[in-house]
Amino acid sequence: MELIFSLSQPGRAAHAQIPEGNVVTSGLPEHLLRDVPPALPELSELDVVRHYTRLSQQNFSIDTHFYPLGSCTMKYNPRVCNSLAMLPGFIDRHPLAPEDTGQGYLQSLHELQELLADVTGMAAVSLAPMAGSQGEFAGVAMIRAWHDSRGDHARREIIVPDAAHGTNPATAAMCGYTVREIPTDAGGNVDLEALRAAVGPQTAGLMLTNPSTLGVFEQKIVEIAAIMHEAGGLLYYDGANLNAILGRIKPGDMGFDVIHINLHKTFATPHGGGGPGSGPVGVSARLLPFLPVPHIVRHGNQYRLADEHDFPQTIGRLSGFHGNAGVLLRAYTYARMLGSAGFERVSQYATLNANYLMTRLQQAGFDLAYPERRASHEFIITLKRLKDETGITAMDFAKRLLDYGFHAPTTYFPLLVPECLLIEPTETESKATLDAFVDAMVAVAGEARTSPEMVKTAPHRLPVRRLDDVRAAREPNLAFRE
């Protein structure tokens, strides 16, 4: 589509949006003023509404398409959560307003803290982190603060499995740690021998996703925790996959010392084309003093934001105010609609859907990465054989699926499975949708053999055909210029 800038014309404006009065800048020092107005587009209100309405229609989204993107938990985002979070009392409140003006808000968030602590089996939860990755940061920073508080400055290393999400090693690095990668065994579990070999007095902690990004439950979790704790390190739980065990198994019971939760996955807050998310972090009792601030505390019927004065050992603040408050309200509303029985159902049906889809695809001739294993809420197929036979890559396959009206699964992650598709249907999709997806998968696999060229040049029915990523990176064009 045309860029919004091409609709612009000097002197045009959406006049209803212009504040009254004609203010001149006299009184402001000349040398601090801008000489030409910023080149923002000049448009009527209709232009803008029409442009962005049409633009939106060029997206796949949960509200329009099945979106089985592994590791991303693209479940239904209840519409009511949005309306309630946008109520005037909530959206009009300034974050620095006195606490008595925000008791409804603070109570909701306090209850969310408690509810998350309960469902994860942690001693306390902080809602401060603004996404999973910042939750990881907070968690690893707390691990570091804990070692430091004990004078144990030698622990400079964080261990991560090779299947880990990229944010894990990146976060460890941001916390000043070096990263040691350990391999996965043939069954999809962490290689215990390698772990044993890796731990030592330099070990600060281990970051683990469970169920892992390979779509399987880490069966040796109890042993892993024991190895780690014996070595003096702490256990970090990447909660991106919490949807798989919600209401059934608590990370705290597996021995994790600190965890983050992606509310924009398990708690159904929208992904918004890239965010905002929220990554609350939960801790076992020994890490409590280090929680990020502000933290919501309750005194009888009153709620307030506790800060550095209440938590002198805190790792500190993570955001200008208090994290992604509006996202937290959405997650809270969702949680209340589920109730405890609902939590368990989430993991149960997410798992049922994944195992059903996995079985059907296997029966349809697809190769599973871990055929001997149960799927958690997601699973991996590998198209290596197909590629060897037809030249069709996982990416080609994914692009052609789009033509069938399905968003593609996650491709090429985790890195250790060749030509992989990581498929996560979530609990909110029906059997009928899964069956239709299997049909599309089978159809594309057929096309890979009968008309590979068509698959290689897919998609064909979308607003654009295959885009040239290489050119985008070689000749970066990152902004419109007249």
Binding site: L55, Y105, G166, I245, R336, V464, F480
Partner: protein, 449 residues
């Protein structure tokens, strides 16, 4: 079973295909003893009607007084179209646009956003957003140190940068051994003097307007830092840039990186979030940028399209060597903001900025008409300013609060040296009557306390 579409027959048919006799069987790889379903104690499920009533009641309890607090989050009018469009399902429920061909809506929008942010800041490139202004400044600090290739780990941080932001930056950079060197401010003007004794540093941070609402001498500061071999990180309020000189034009070479919080561009106050951080910089620094970038390219037919690009900087490719650990950013707020900027355009943004300036100036003039209230600083303030009082602030604020006014932010805790000092802000949302109501409440408070 809210949000679960399965019928009993579906479940039976699915289990039969899997060959499992019950759903529990699907969890049989999980070590026994970890199952903890029984002891969860959360509230029972509410249906939509019930949760709606609950949250309506809570929101009603939070009905807000007339607000004159700014300090990093600004009350501006947000056109109704902004969130009506941004919350369309196609924007609201899409993921990060990894499959470019199926995400042209989000991708083109981000490209347009990047274009608008570069226009506004006068810089060459913009990323697709960071979490908020504070974390964006932290990322800019890390980036500046990287750009300087570790020549120095010291970053000069004026006290005229928001105290909360400075705390956030400390949290986020301290583990990488970066030292934040605090620069004091001139007591008369509330601005940052040239830190002429400083030599060894990676970057100087320059806020404009600064936390006190005062205008800094950005040209001098920028040129000085460049001469001293440091990078310049501008911290700006995007609305003010409709009127103020953009960072790209500061001094003779312009700032190197510009960051800020995007909240004033269409995000409601919303208890502090979600907002977003923006980060723009020189073209030459693009490979050191944190966060996502969208670029224009062509499809097989040569038609223009948009895609995530230069991903080799990011965690999912670069892992421990990435420029940042950020993954999910603040996409939806960026969508709202892009729509916002398109709607208000350069004229509307200028109107917002100048009307806010005029209202704050007006408020200050009226308030300092009272004998016991004075401006804390000489020089020019923009759409915030500091008032100094002749008595303790707490009872004054309490009294005004009782009259339905949030009078401003008490600076006592963060700047005790100022004495009783109040940071006030009156944006374009305030009318003459509102200002009068403020002054009346203030007068009443002064009489009471």
């Amino acid at each position: 079973m809210p949000f679960i579409p399965h019928t009993e027959q579906d479940v039976a048919a699915m289990l039969a295909v899997i060959g499992a006799d019950s759903p529990d069987r699907l969890f049989d790889e999980i070590p026994a003893g970890l199952d903890h379903r029984s002891d969860q104690q959360t509230a029972p499920a509410l249906n939509e009607m019930q949760v709606t009533r609950l949250m309506n009641a809570r929101a009603a309890r939070d009905a807000q007084p007339l607000n004159f607090i700014g300090a990093g989050a600004y009350e501006h009018h947000v056109p109704a179209a902004v969130w009506q469009l941004a919350t369309r399902g196609e924007f609201y429920t899409a993921y990060t646009p990894y499959q470019a061909e199926a995400s042209q809506g989000t991708l083109q929008l981000i490209y347009e956003y990047q274009s608008m942010m570069t226009a506004l800041t006068g810089m060459e490139v913009s990323n697709a957003s960071l979490y908020d202004g504070a974390s964006a400044l932290a990322e800019a600090v890390l980036m500046a140190v990287r750009v300087q290739k570790g020549a120095s780990n010291r970053v000069l941080m004026p006290k005229t940068v928001s105290p909360i932001w400075r705390k956030v930056i400390h949290t986020l950079v301290k583990n990488q051994g970066i030292e934040l060197v605090e620069l004091g401010y001139d007591a008369a003007t509330g601005t940052t003097p040239l830190p002429e004794n400083e030599r060894d540093f990676a970057a100087l941070v320059v806020p404009q307007p600064n936390f006190f609402g005062q205008l800094e001498e950005v040209d001098q500061l920028t040129d000085w830092a460049h001469q001293a071999g440091g990078q310049v990180i501008a911290v700006v309020n995007p609305v003010s840039l409709a009127v103020l000189k953009p960072p790209g034009q500061w001094g003779s070479r312009g700032a190197d990186i510009a960051v800020g919080d995007g909240q004033p561009l269409g995000a409601p106050l919303s208890n502090g979030g979600p907002y977003y951080g923006f980060l723009t910089c020189r073209q030459s620094l693009v490979r050191q940028m944190p966060g996502r970038l969208v670029g224009a390219t062509v499809d097989l037919d040569g038609k223009t399209g948009y895609t995530l690009t230069l991903q080799a900087r990011e965690q999912h490719i670069r892992r421990a060597k990435a420029t940042s650990n950020i993954c999910t950013n603040q996409g939806l707020v960026v969508a709202a903001s892009t729509i916002f900027m398109s709607l208000v355009g350069p004229q509307g943004l200028r109107g917002m900025a100048l009307q806010s300036w005029r209202n704050t100036t007006d408020l200050i003039n009226r308030a300092t008409g009272l004998p016991s209230v004075q401006r804390a600083f000489a020089g020019t303030s923009f759409h915030e300013a500091v008032l100094r009082f002749d008595r303790p602030l707490a009872p004054v604020l309490k009294s005004m609060r009782a009259d339905g006014i949030l009078a401003g932010l008490d600076l006592g805790r963060d700047y005790p040296e100022l004495g009783p000092a109040l940071l006030v802000c009156a944006t374009e949302t305030k009318t003459g009557e509102d200002l009068q109501q403020y002054v009346d409440a203030l007068l009443a408070a002064m009489e009471r306390v």
